[in-house]
Symmetry: C2
Subunit: 632 residues, 2 copies
Amino acid sequence: MNLFPNAKILDVNLSSGEIITRTLPGEIYRLYPGGSALGLYLALQEMEPGIDPLSPENMLVFSVSALTALPISGISRLTVTAKSPLTGTMGDSQAGGFFPVHFKANGWDAAVFRGKSDKPVYLYIDGDKVTLKDASKAWGKITGEAEDVIREEVGDKDIEIAQIGPAGENLVKYACIINMCNRANGRNGMGAVMGSKNLKAVVVKKGKPMKAYDNEKFQALAKSVKERLEENEAVAGLGKYGTDGDLEGFHEEGFLPTNNWTTGHFPEGAKNITGTTMYETILKERDTCYACAVRCKRVVEIPGVVDPLYGGPEYETCATLGSYCGVTSLETVSLANQLCNMYGLDTISCGATISFAMECYEKGLITDKDTDGLVLKFGNNEVVPTIVEKIAKREGLGDLLAEGSYRAAQKIGKEAIPLSMSVKGQELPAHMPQFKPAVGLIYAVNPFGADHQSSEHDVFLVMPEDSRERQRLAQLGVWKGYDNPFVIDEEKVRFALDSQKYFSVLDTLCLCQFVWGPAWELYGPDDMVNLCKYGLGWDTSIYELMLVGERRINMMRYFNAREGFSKADDKLPERIFEPFKDGPSKGVCVDKKAFEEAKELYYALAGWDQETGNPTDTVLKKLSLGWLLEKK
Amino acid sequence: MNLFPNAKILDVNLSSGEIITRTLPGEIYRLYPGGSALGLYLALQEMEPGIDPLSPENMLVFSVSALTALPISGISRLTVTAKSPLTGTMGDSQAGGFFPVHFKANGWDAAVFRGKSDKPVYLYIDGDKVTLKDASKAWGKITGEAEDVIREEVGDKDIEIAQIGPAGENLVKYACIINMCNRANGRNGMGAVMGSKNLKAVVVKKGKPMKAYDNEKFQALAKSVKERLEENEAVAGLGKYGTDGDLEGFHEEGFLPTNNWTTGHFPEGAKNITGTTMYETILKERDTCYACAVRCKRVVEIPGVVDPLYGGPEYETCATLGSYCGVTSLETVSLANQLCNMYGLDTISCGATISFAMECYEKGLITDKDTDGLVLKFGNNEVVPTIVEKIAKREGLGDLLAEGSYRAAQKIGKEAIPLSMSVKGQELPAHMPQFKPAVGLIYAVNPFGADHQSSEHDVFLVMPEDSRERQRLAQLGVWKGYDNPFVIDEEKVRFALDSQKYFSVLDTLCLCQFVWGPAWELYGPDDMVNLCKYGLGWDTSIYELMLVGERRINMMRYFNAREGFSKADDKLPERIFEPFKDGPSKGVCVDKKAFEEAKELYYALAGWDQETGNPTDTVLKKLSLGWLLEKK
C-alpha cells in the first residue's frame, strides 16, 4: 500500500454555486490527517490575514479524519474550522453524533465553503452527487422544525443534518452548528460563520461504515471496549450519570463556578442540578453516538416543558446555565439547554454571558432600562430561558449579549471588563483553574480561547502511581504524582503541553476524548496506534501522532500571529488570582507569579518565542511547516 | 505491578576494596533505564568537572538495561561509560557477546568502579557473591592467555570475561574492553580507564535468562524474527557476508575512505578485503551473540597466522586497517584485527591513527628517524601489524601513536593537524559524510566524538516510499524521500536528530541496532514498545522512549559543557569540504555553508543554545533533568 490514503475534498463556492472535487495526496494528508489540522492546512494555503470572519472571504471547513467511519467507539466526530467571529483567532469546534460518520461514508474527508450565497441554501450530499438546494423554507425555523422541512423536501429518511438555528442566521457571535438537534459544534461561533454564508445546513445521505484494513485485529480491538467498560467504574459512571455526574462533587470541594465565578460553592442548587439527580428524575434515556459503547449522552423529558428531541444538558451546560447564573432548578437548566439547541447557541458562552450580565446588573453597571425590566439577579431562575431566546433573536439586551461577554463588556464600560470571564473573547468552561491549574494554563495559551477539552485534567495526577490512568500518562513520559492538584510546577507544565498535544491528536483524528483520552480507561496511546494500523493500514507510532498534534497547535498559533495575537492575549481573568472569599475553597486562588513562570516555561518547551509567544521558525521547520515561512 | 523495576547496582571502590550494593528506585530507573543513560545519571550525581580521565576520580560504569537477559535477538549489549581519555567528553562504548546477558542474569543492572587498586585485580561476580581477586598472573598477558589464567584460577568453565589487554594496561588512549576475545567495547578508550584503575577484568558466572512478563506474547515476538529474517535479503546478506559485505560497493561508488581519506576509491585492494571475498576464502564460521538469529559476527582462520579465537574483522576494521592504510591484503587486515583483539585496541582509532601517520610520513612530517626505519607508506601491508604491536606496547613511534591521531598531530606540528581525521579527538569511522551528510552532521555534534552508530544512515531515504524501511522511518514522522543521498536539507536534519534520539534509545536499552534499528527489517518502533511490554510489563510508548533517548544525549552534552566543550568542538575535518580529486566521486564534497546551516538548525531543533551548542535550561527541564540545574 501507499503511505497514506488521499483525501477527497469537496470545495463549494457559495457565491458562484460552483462545486469542485479536490484530491489531497496521501503524503500531504498524512501530515494533516483530519480535523482542524486539515482545515488549517486548507485555510493557510489561501486565506489572507485580517479578513472579517463574517465576510465571504472566510473559509468554513467541515472535516472528519482518515479514520472516521470505522465501526468503533468514540470515532464519529466532526470538526468545523473557520476564522472565529468570537475570538478573531482560527476557530475550531467538534461535535459527535451520527453525521460525522455518514459524511465520511459518502467518501468525503472535508468540505470547504467559501463565498456567500445570495439566498439561503443547504448542501445535499449523496456520494458524489452533491447539490446546493434552496433553504428558504427552513430559514428562520428552529432546528427541530427545520429538520422536518428538510427531511420532507429531500424525501428520504436516511439522512443526517448538521444545521444552524436562528442564532446562526442572526450572526450571534457564539452560534453553534447542530446535528440531530442535540449534538453541537458549540464553540467559537462557527454557526455565525455558516449563517454569514447563508448556508442553513449540510445534509448527508447515510452510508456504510468503512472496512477495516485488518478486520480481524480491528474487531478484537473494538470488542475489548465492551470488556474494559464493564470492568471500569469511572466509565460506567460516565455512562450512567453523564458528564454531569461530578457537578455536586465539584461544589463540595469548592470548585463549581457559581455566580459568574465569584464563588466555587453552590449550596442553594448543586444537588438539584447534578447528574445523579438528573438520572433519578427527568432522565428518559441514555443516547449514544455512532458505534459507541459509552452512551454518555443524556435524553431528558419534562412533559409540556422539555422535549427529548433536544437531548439533555451536559455538565458544562448544567454549570453555565445553572450555577454560573445561580439557577437552582434542573427544569430551568433543561429548558435553557433546549432553547440553545433549538436556536443553535453554544450553551457555555451563552450561560456565561448571561451570568456576566447578571453580575453587571447586581453591580449596577446595567439597569432595568437596559434589560427591559428583567431582573437579572443571580438565582432568578425564570429570567434565564427568556434571555436565551432574546439572545438568539438579538432582541433588546439580547442584541448586546449576542456579542459575547467580552465585547458586551467593552460597550458597557471599563468596570464591566474584569467581569467577563473569558480568554481571547471566549467564555471559560466550568473547570476552575484554581483547582486545575494545568487546565488553567491551557485556557490561557490555547489558540482558540479558553477550552477544557484541549488538554488532560490535573486530577489524574493525584491518582495512585499504579493506577491505570497514571500508567497511561507515563507512556507519554508524564511521571510526577501530586498529593494535591493545586500545584503548577515544571512537571505540570510538561504534562499540560504534552497532554495538549495528545488532545490535539484526538481533535485531528476526530476521536472522542472520553473514549480515546490519554488517561482514560478505554483506549490508551498504544490502542490509538493500533486503531490506525488495523483500521487504516497506517503504520504509525505515538511519536508521529504527537508530531501531528503539535503541528496543528502550531498552525493555529501561526495563524493567530498573522492576525496580531501574541503573548499579551494569553491571559486569565484577574478573578482567577483572587482568593475565594467563602466555601470549602476559601482562600484558594492561582498564584500569579507561578502562573506567569509556568507560561514562560510553556512557551520555551513549545519552542515559541519568549517575547511574543508565537512559533519560532525552528519549530515550524521541525513540524514540516517550513512552507509557511516561504509564503511570508 | 509498580511502574518500573528497581535497579540493582554494584558499587566497587577499588582504592579501599569496599563493595556495596545500591538500589535505584524504579521511578528513577525508568528515566535512565540502562546503558550510558544510567552511567551518566550515576556519574552526574557526584563526579566533579575537570578530573583527569585516568585518575582514580574517574567513575567507570558497566551497565546493561532493564531488558537485558530476555531471550531474544539483539538484546545482549554491554555499555561502558567513563570520562574518556581520548576525547575528554563523557565516553560511551557498546559491545555484544554473551557477557552482557550473564552480567544481568546475576541480578545486576550496573557496576560502578571508582578509585584505583594498588595492585592488579579482577572482579568476580557470582550472583550476590562478589569478590575482588588478585590479577597479577593475568596482568601483562594478551587477552587469550589472560582468559586461560583467569579460567584456571576461578576453576569454573561457566564464566564470561570482559577484560583489558596490554594496551589498556599501558593506557593507550583508545584501548578497548574485550569479551570472548573478540567483542569489543571499542571506542572512547574505556580500556585505558580500566587500566588506570588496575582493573584487569570483570568476570561473571553464567546465569539464566530473565523470565518474560508475558511469556506467550514475548515468544510470539521472538519467533517472528526468524520468519522475517528468512524473508529479507538485506538481513540475510548481513548474516552471510557480515558488516563487511558492502565494502567493495562503497569503493565502486567512490566512498570508501582510502589512504587517510584522501580518496574514496581503492581499486588496488577493495576487492581483496570485501566481505564476499572473506566469505569465499578465510571465513571459518559465523558467530552470534546471545540468542541472536542474525549471526553477523565473522570468525576467520588462516592456519599459522590468524587464530579463530579472535573472531574476524568487521567492515570498520577492514576499512581502517585496510583501505585507510592502503592495505591490499585480507590476511594483513585479519592479522592486524587479531593483534588489536589480543592487545585490546579499538580497531577504528588504531587503523585511522596509523593511516594518519602514513600520510605524515609521505608528507615528510615524520621521518625514518621517528619510525625506527619503518617505511610508513600507504599500501605497505607488512608495516601495519608491526605498528599495531608497537602502539599496544608504546614502543618507539607507537608511544606517540598510542595518544591517537589528534594528540600526535599536536606534537608533530601544525602541518599535521589537518591530517588527523577526527572529531573531538576521536577518529572517523568508515562512513563518508560526503556520501552520508546526515551521518556527517552527527559525527560533528555527537557528544563523544565521531560515531557511525549514533544515528540512522541517509541511504534509507533513497529507498522506495513503500519500502518497509521508509515506512518504519515514517512511524517517526520522517517523510521526505531523496533521489540521491548527497543532500543535507531541513528534513535531513530532522531525520538526523530524530534517528539519533532513536539510536540513543537503543544504546540506553542496550539493543543492537542491526536488529532493533529504526529502519531495519527485524523490529520496528512498534516492536520495541512490545518488547518492553511483553518482556518487562513496562507499559511504554515510542514517545516516552524517544524522551529517554533525548535525555541521554542531553546529559552527555551537559557533562561536556561542564568540561568546557562548545559549538567550536562540533566540527568536521577540513578535508570533508574539499572535493575528491579522482575516482567515481571526483568533485564531490560536503558543502560547508549547507553543513553550517544544518548544524545551526540541528541545535535549534535540539533545544540547544545557538551560541554555545549546549543544552538550554528549558530542554533540561523538559527532560526531567531540572535537578542538574539545582546542582549548579
